[in-house]
Symmetry: C2
Subunit: 135 residues, 2 copies
């Protein structure tokens, strides 16, 4: 319960790697997979998510790879999380994509409002921590 996914951990590691190798060549998925000892295919997807979400820029083809778009100081952990996870909410009823919320308690739920507040506070933890702080 309350556990970060491996995907998110890999995203933190990858972002960290990009931040620390930001001069000259572009970092590749393979390089990061080797360096962080994580599955290539998973990092690859994480990096693609970074590119789609404007956290990094990708360069295709040989000598290609990724580089960060902003300074580590200006990238917060919540940006990284949002790039790779669509459901990082504390309850089912707060998840964005479930347009038709499925929780049967929704009508009469007494704990929802307090949990929205909890969510806000947890969000804040990630908003307030920048990539620079985890280098």
């Amino acid at each position: 319960m309350l556990k970060l996914s491996k995907k998110t951990e890999y995203a933190f590691m990858a972002a960290r790697h990009l931040a620390m190798n930001n001069s000259g060549h572009y970092s590749t998925a393979k390089e990061i997979a080797d360096n962080c000892q994580i599955p290539y295919q998973l990092v690859a997807k994480v990096l693609q998510n970074f590119a789609r979400n404007k956290i990094a820029t990708s360069f295709q083809g040989a000598k290609g790879g990724y580089k960060l778009n902003r300074l580590p100081d200006n990238i917060s952990l919540i940006d990284i999380i949002k790039a790779v996870e669509h459901n990082y909410q504390v309850t089912e009823c707060m998840q964005e994509d479930n347009s038709k919320s499925t929780c049967s308690h929704l009508d009469c739920c007494k704990i929802r409002d307090p949990l929205i507040e909890i969510q806000r506070k947890i969000d804040n933890v990630f908003v307030q921590t920048s990539l620079k702080q985890i280098l």
Copy 2:
């Protein structure tokens, strides 16, 4: 990801019910299950966890049930969570029962220390919220 389990949500609901029905009779698992519209067996287990962890006292037999041991003001959400979940940590390597931590990255993990700090902050959110605040 980062989602509270239904078990924890049910625990919050049950604790809430106990707090609001604290005069006279003891609340039963059935009563709470009906009132909160949650599966009887699950609330039953939650309440047993409350009793084991001294959050509530149980009375067996006919006319039995549960009552809170402390005022809602003196029960924090973290107490409730700890009573029903043994793994509420943000990463595998912080989980208490995994005596032999299984994460293969443990030796060279660069994100562990920052995540321990994140964990501390998230803990704080639950430590600082009391049952009274969610009534």
